[in-house]
Assembly symmetry: C2
Homo-oligomer: 330 residues x 2
């Protein structure tokens, strides 16, 4: 063989080696079944050239809820654990909290009483712990917390309690030209410090609830100060509003797990051409949690009915997922 | 020559042909001088491997004001012309406008009186013309307007009155891995329908002022209704706030032309590492307009002082730009 022939042979061999890679299962943690097939069919139909459902790359936007869709949300939203930990950390600066509810309950370790005041109490605690810093200080606080805080049941970092099958969906979509956004009721600045490392989703593709910030000069240095004032709740009817505000395009695909995601799925599915809407249904009390219509967190009631009526994909976590968390044994 | 040698020769020839292409001037409409050099130096310093100022691609964010920075803004913001045209178009549905100010003045063609009420009057007219539709209907209205409305002085489409040298900067930055965002006091949904075609800036990279929208079901179809209620003013202190909200990263480079951009430039320039801040100074009464410290529109007063104090680039439109609009003769 001369050098050219040898190059050609090497090239052909490389191609042959690549072939199985391309044909590899993009969703190995998913059981073969209707849910997995619906995802693969959707991606292939919208990205194959000459497909009647072809979607140009610029339009390939997929939106994902976070709590209960990409990571767990039981026994309470992980951001609530962050709030409680922050109250404990800030307590020395707030001696009045020892006798002031709901803070006093948190400091006694009585989370049930702390949450008894409902949304109002939670909001009060959120403001007390999320405001009062600059954006850069808050970023550092969140980074420290996610690097060390452990979930009470699994003993794992919260960022380890992400769903392997959904990480595969994120990767699969991006490999096919989709931009993947988070659209979550969680705090936008609570998520941004870690979503890139954990999900491959950069800050500019994270949409969430927010408090107001204010531009200020401090000793000649400009900062953004976080204020104890609500800016936007990115839940239910707020999700399509926020998608329009941030992205300015209607998504092609939407993934959620609760009634809080219903309007986002409706908005996505109502667009022209091929669309995709998927609900993760928490059915696995052994490997994760089982809850739906009566749950206080992540209630999925109207959404289940609408999914059935409209033919959306409903993932049965117990049956459809071979593995839940990356640290589980397959 | 055997086929391998021939391939090698062809490859080498292709490389040689490419060389002049790479060396081509990325900013041909700019006069050689300090302003042009500062842009090229910045881009090369932040993108050259092993440069001490190297910025990873993910962090390469550049923000641009729109009115007066990417397109003209005289004798009034182009969006004000849109508002007046909408008032005329909507007048048959609003017989009360014939006797109600500021609408009556607009309908008589007396723009000066229409604007005499200042910001309050302008806001009233903006709400009356920007709300009351769905987001999709408003998108179509804007598209129709920019495709047909002409500027009173030049007789050109407003989207033709963009600055060729700034189009070159946008392209040059993007060719070097920068993502280019608009951060404008103008309406976000007034800009998004045309910025991709005119500037190559997609909707998700457009940030602007906004009114509130509301998710509604109409005959079973979800829509976003535009409400006559202010959501956010993306000007002055609002610009860094909006950048943080939308992008979640501090820009590396910022381009503006007025005191309304000052905080955005300060916020950008105060970041760690190499940063770039540039003001377009309107000095060309012949080819465009000349105005700065005393102008009611696009006032540049504090910004000029701060630019001088901090060594920011100030573009002298008359001296630094060989050509202003793409339709001008070079």
């Amino acid at each position: 063989m001369n050098i050219f022939t040898r190059t050609l042979v090497a090239f052909t061999a490389a191609l042959l080696l690549c072939a199985p890679l391309h044909a590899a299962d993009p969703l190995p943690s998913w059981q073969d079944g209707a849910a997995k097939k619906s995802i693969v069919d959707f991606v292939e139909d919208t990205t194959r050239k000459n497909s009647p459902d072809f979607v140009p790359v610029a339009e390939r936007v997929a939106v994902f809820d976070n709590d209960g869709t990409l990571w767990s949300e039981q026994p309470m939203y992980f951001q609530a654990f962050f709030i409680f930990d922050r109250i404990k950390a800030l307590a020395p600066e707030h001696p009045e909290w020892k006798t002031k509810e709901p803070f006093a309950s948190v400091l006694r370790g009585d989370m049930k009483s702390a949450l008894a005041g409902g949304e109002h109490a939670l909001m009060e605690m959120a403001m007390a712990t999320h405001a009062g810093t600059t954006t850069e200080q808050f970023d550092a606080i969140v980074r420290n917390w996610v690097a060390s805080a452990k979930h009470p049941k699994t003993g794992r970092l919260y960022t380890e309690m992400v769903y392997l099958p959904m990480l595969e969906v994120l990767r699969y979509l991006r490999a096919n030209g989709y931009r993947t956004y988070i659209v979550s009721g969680g705090g936008i600045e609570f998520m941004r410090p870690w979503t890139e490392a954990v999900y491959g989703i950069p800050p500019e593709q994270v949409i969430g609830s927010s408090i107001k910030t204010k531009f200020e000069m401090r000793d000649g240095v400009p900062v953004l100060a976080r204020l104890p004032e609500l800016n936007f709740i990115d839940d239910k009817e707020g999700k399509p509003v926020a998608i329009n505000q941030h992205i300015g395009r209607r998504p092609i695909a939407a993934f959620g797990n609760s009634d809080g995601d219903l309007q986002m799925l409706q908005w996505t599915a109502a667009g022209k051409g091929r669309r995709f809407a998927l609900y993760v249904h928490h059915t696995d009390a052994d490997r994760e949690w089982a809850y739906d219509r009566d749950s206080h967190i992540g209630r999925l009631d109207k959404g289940l009915d609408e999914a059935a009526a409209r033919g959306w994909t409903v993932v049965d976590m117990k049956k459809d997922w071979k593995q839940v968390y990356p640290f589980d044994k397959p």
